[in-house]
Amino acid sequence: MEHKKKSVYLDNNATTPADPRVIEKMLPYFHETSANPSSIHGAGRRARDAVEEAREKLSRLVHCRTDETYFTSGGTESDNMGIKGAAFAQSERTKIITSAIEHHAVLTTCDYMKKHGYEIVKAPVDEYGIVDLNFLSRAVDDKTLLVSIMHANNEVGTIEPLKDIGEIAHRHGAIFHSDAVQTVGKIPIDMDALQVDMLSLSGHKFYGPKGVGALVVRRGTRFDPLHHGGHHERNKRAGTENVPGIVGLGAACEISMTEMNTEEKSIRELRDSLWIGINKEIGEVQLNGHPENRLAGTLNISVKYIEGESMLLNLDMHGIYASSGSACTSGSLEASHVLLAMGVPHDLAHGSLRFSMGRFNTKRDIDHVIEVFPGIVKKLRAISPLCKN
């Protein structure tokens, strides 16, 4: 979202602008109704009520009980809290299984667990980014404490078969954690049906505020806290509740509940028309991710012979905001670990571009990209030594 005229924000997988309706709901809790929900006075009780109302909205969205929700500061904290918490709450099992295409919040946490003596196994994925279930079946055993596989990948949008994975995990009594940061609020989630024991989510990925998220943990799943301190969140997550943030998260859940279906359809239409337009205007482009089974708003492509950042910067000059690989890694030099795990060659991985559409995009945004993007590709290909025409 941008001041300049004609700016087009197509980086909704990195973060979504908060919905104005969400902001409106949060506003009173900054000043007028500001209090600590732990305080027993009237102002405190109103803050407590607001937190609990948001909790109900969240639990309706992901189909869980209210006492299974724990508010956090975002997806990364939720991932850390779930993985470390599950591991440190027990001592018999020592193996953690994850995938090669997880977000860094999961992968780096697993690296850390490895230093603490846990065995980490990363399941491979196929060319579309779907986790190898046969591999998982063989890898999960009675030493496995946790299987952590994301619900949908943030770079390519591919949606994983959680139900099947959950069954494999539970066959051996392992806990199944899923990083659902990219799916909550975008596609229906039913913890029971998906067989998920722990679910991470983040407000700013579905039009809620930044700095707030949740870990949902099904009853009976043991875990240690990550933040120690006061008695907040049933002794599992200490720290004064971020009341406006939690209220905003709740409001985002409520809006998603009612608008998810129609929104999914219209976003998918935008995305498909962008892909069709690009394909028509530009040769030698490939789609990354599963052709059908992926998030409606995600379009990840590789443009042959040219590099991603140079496309991004050119788009940026036209007020078009996209991303090349994960937002979190765009400051790095390495090609996306997700694309490489899917078998995309290095040069095409370097030449990848992610357009991610959201609630506030319009057909005009797409038209603008289709107008501008082919010229950029042409210009960059003209100076590319790999391009021989």
Partner: protein
């Protein structure tokens, strides 16, 4: 990560893009696997008695790479035009980066590749005119794969 105005200018309007037919020297550095590849084409005013004093009269390049890579190639091409081969050989990545008003630390390697690719082209020229002795003294591209 923020690019300077000069980087953005050279990136958006790169100077000396292209190839030179029957170039006197051609040099490549980088690798698409690493995300950066540059090829420089040189036209050189010969100076048989002392090739190191020969001047670069024309330069063209092609680049696959990030914004910094393109800007570096463009800026480096401007910097070496008219220079003698020994001056070019003495150039460092910091010279180009400074001329661009700096580069983000993680992009300094682009500057390296740029300088090395040009020096590779100089080397190529020296070899072509049979001066392997002089060519051998130029570092150029470490492993032709940066």
């Amino acid at each position: 990560m923020q690019y300077s105005e000069k980087v953005m200018d050279h990136f958006m309007n790169p100077r000396n893009v292209g190839e030179i037919e029957n170039a006197d020297g051609i040099g490549t550095c980088g690798n698409p696997v690493c995300g950066d590849l540059m090829t420089f084409y040189l036209r050189i005013e010969p100076r048989i008695e002392d090739p190191n004093k020969a001047c670069i009269s024309e330069i063209r390049f092609k680049t696959f790479g990030c914004g910094a890579a393109i800007a570096v190639a463009s800026m480096a091409s401007e910097m070496v035009k008219g220079k003698t081969l020994s001056e070019v050989t003495a150039m460092s990545r910091d010279d180009v980066a400074n001329e661009l008003d700096g580069l983000p630390p993680i992009k300094m390697h682009c500057s390296n590749i740029g300088v090395q690719a040009i020096q590779e082209a100089v080397k190529d020229y020296l070899k072509k005119i049979g001066r392997d002795d002089l060519a051998g003294k130029i570092k150029g591209c470490p492993d032709k794969k940066h």
